[in-house]
């Protein structure tokens, strides 16, 4: 199949990869910014408020106003902070979040129509970089993202920051285990770490989705995903009522904005992984696969906001209890049962 592609169609070269990378960066940044607007609106409606209303129609231009504010704010670095690490930590969060997005598939493969100048007839594969270890790479990148909050909290010479950093280490490291183990069972079923293989394995309708074979793994992955992206039931890293703003206490302006964008990019990544690994990816009903995966990603994104409106926080000890005494054993049992079923 590859040979025919190379013969018939111009492959995406280095320039194409760069274009795609820039596109992903721009689109995901924009969606992350728009996500803040959506979050504020959804939370407002769920609490019978109006949310942002005054900048633009229905407050739509609030993102632009917030962006201008973030970009033009003074870059404050505390006196006793470790300046280099303090400055570099937000970049780690944002960079790892975007690098993780480089190897998740969002659209099905497609060919650019020939009437578009310059790029016409170019074959575009679904991922910017189709790694054969895609899932491992994405999970690894999201795990590396823990260095952002960790270093930020430890470098800023602030007690709340230190507590936030400690919680980062505890929470992210613990839930890495659950993420890895929960997604291990689908990996065993599919027999590959490539997202494209996952997508192809579930081709042919809703009944082929992995969520029916691995419901427990799906729930575990979702819970761990909430913890990994620092979303509400588990957002102990920057829980205002307890630790002011946790690791981000001393941050302001664009450095804080990078944490923010990184968090929202991570939310999108987790939504994409959940959609591709468990909900059949982009290959549901023929031509409209791209529409369906966007709907699935949007649903998971909405779920995160929904949960934030509905559920309270957990205590750190409850978090650890949940991770090590409930989720991890369940994940191991799930893997064992899957293995036994596959053997038999």
């Amino acid at each position: 199949m590859e040979t025919t592609l190379i013969e018939n169609l111009p492959e995406v070269g280095a320039v194409g990869v760069i274009i795609k990378a820039v596109l992903i960066l721009a689109v995901i940044s924009a969606i992350a910014g728009f996500g803040t607007f959506i979050e504020r609106k959804v939370l407002a409606f769920m609490q019978r408020r109006l949310g942002p209303m005054h900048v633009g129609p229905y407050g739509l231009l609030q993102i632009a106003a917030d962006g201008i504010k973030l970009f033009t704010k003074e870059d404050i670095i505390p006196q006793n902070a470790n300046k280099f690490i303090f400055m570099v930590a937000p970049v780690i969060t944002a960079a790892t979040a975007f690098i993780a997005l480089s190897s998740v598939p969002v659209f099905p493969d497609f060919t650019i129509p020939s009437w578009i100048p310059l790029l016409g007839d170019t074959f575009v594969p679904s991922i910017a970089s189709d790694l054969n270890i895609g899932i491992l790479f994405v999970l690894g990148m999201m795990a590396a993202g823990l260095y952002g909050p960790l270093l930020a909290g430890m470098s800023q010479a602030n007690k709340w920051g230190i507590i936030g950093a400690a919680r980062t280490a505890v929470q992210f490291l613990s839930y890495e285990v659950v993420t890895g183990l929960s997604i291990l069972a689908p990996i065993m079923l599919v027999g590959s770490l490539s997202f494209v293989e996952f997508n192809n394995y579930q081709a042919g309708g809703i009944s082929n989705w992995l969520i029916w074979q691995q419901p427990l793994a799906f729930v575990l992955f979702l819970i761990a995903g909430f913890a990994e992206t620092n979303r509400t039931p588990f957002d102990l890293l920057e829980h205002e009522a307890e630790v002011v703003s946790g690791y981000a206490t001393e941050y302001s302006g664009m450095r804080w904005g990078m944490f923010f964008i990184g968090e929202y990019a991570n939310m999108i990544t987790v939504s994409v992984i959940a959609s591709v690994v468990f909900l059949g990816g982009y290959d549901v009903v023929g031509v409209y696969g791209w529409l369906f995966i966007i709907a699935k990603i949007a649903f998971f994104f909405f779920l995160m906001l929904w949960v934030r409106a509905a559920w309270p926080h957990v205590r750190p000890d409850q978090l650890m209890w949940l991770c090590w005494k409930v989720l991890m054993p369940l994940a191991v049992v799930n893997v064992l049962i899957t293995a036994i079923v596959m053997m038999v």
């Binding site: 409606f45 769920m46 408020r49 109006l50 949960v307 509905a310 559920w311």
Partner: protein
Amino acid sequence: MSLEQFKNRNVGVQSYKTLDVGTPPKTGMEKFTQVVKRSVKGELFVGLGVVMKRMLEALFKNDMHTVKYPFEKMPISPRYRAIHEMLRLLESGNYRCIGCGLCEKICISNCISMETRYDENQRKEVSEYTINFGRCIFCGYCAEVCPELAIVHGQRYETASEQRAGFSLFEDMLTPIDQLNLQQEFDGFGAVSPNADDNIKQTPLAY
């Protein structure tokens, strides 16, 4: 009540009622069953359902609680004591104030000052009347003491200003003559109660 009851530090054993919250699990097995019950029961989804219902009501039934404050205002009680107003007689359009000076006398923060004189009809007329809102504590005595319902408290509560001393002149507080038909009869602080006529007793002289 004897002293013994005050000395009793053992609170909680008297007439307090405790809520029935069940007994906390003791053994490991009880804890385990509690966790399983709570996990499977789906209580979390009840919470999700509640907020979703709120959102749908907010979106489609317009059931919002937000008041866009500078543009919309909540109605306030007629008893609220805000910036004073000087009312006019509805029939003649003349102001009600008879210059008796009771409000100036009763004002406990000395913020009302007035000067009166006799006009050509030998009727008292107000020549100067100011209220220093930097001193006014909005106690409402002036409105209460006024025999003519001339000075009353209005509904204008946005009184932030750049200076501590903010004087208001008589003409500023007086109902504009072209808005006389809009003048509301004051039924708030210091106003005559609806059953005022029933409370009137005949004086002995009438017998």
